[in-house]
């Protein structure tokens, strides 16, 4: 899908291998498992917790030009939902193709209504969405 997915924790690549061998639910894993034992990359993205030596559950989307376009960080005790990530990724892919448009709240997939901001839309978002 034109994206490189990399999972990152402060474990080493050796522990990643051991975990993947051990954990049945990781049998079909295809993505690269990144090792950040120094916390350098986790600090860069602001998810490193110094006292714990661990990274928070942060998800970051970077476009092919290297711009950060989406971020979401959850605390240690709350897992993520792949559907939420895919919705945001699809929206960003769409907007990369249609830079003049905007994906409104509740936008789910290509084909859903978008908005084209401009003078005609000021104070008329309701009408623009109802069209």
């Amino acid at each position: 899908m034109g994206a490189a997915l990399i999972t990152v924790s402060t474990d080493t690549q050796f522990v990643h291998l051991a975990w993947r061998r051990h954990e049945k639910s990781l049998e079909n894993v295809q993505y690269l498992m990144g090792a950040d034992p120094s916390g350098k990359v986790s600090r860069l993205f602001g998810v490193y917790v110094e006292d714990a030596g661990l990274a928070l559950r942060g998800t970051f989307l970077i476009n092919p030009e290297g711009r950060l376009l989406n971020s979401e960080v959850s605390f240690f005790n709350m897992g993520r939902n792949i559907d939420e990530l895919m919705r945001k990724f699809k929206a960003n892919l769409y907007l990369a193709k249609k830079p003049a448009e905007a994906c409104p709240a509740q936008w789910k997939d290509e084909g859903d209504k978008t908005l084209t901001p401009g003078p005609n839309m000021v104070g008329k978002v309701h009408e623009a969405l109802a069209k």
């Binding site: 051991a18 990781l26 998810v47 928070l56 970077i62 897992g79 990530l85």
Partner: protein, 57 residues
């Protein structure tokens, strides 16, 4: 690119290059990946941080 320590990342801003050692389950081998390498392939990058192996992600 300026140091990330003095300039926290902002949405819409440029991400400085970084490199990670990786385990590649497809090749069953170790290696390295950098943001520059992924950009040079014209791909998006999705980073997925989590606290620790052997727990849920």
């Amino acid at each position: 690119m300026t140091s990330s320590d003095s300039n926290p990342l902002q949405l819409g801003g440029q991400v400085p290059n970084f490199e990670l050692s990786v385990y590649d389950p497809v090749k069953n081998d170790f290696g390295k990946i950098s943001l520059d390498e992924i950009k040079s392939q014209g791909k998006w990058t999705i980073l997925f941080f989590y606290p620790a192996d052997f727990t849920f992600v």
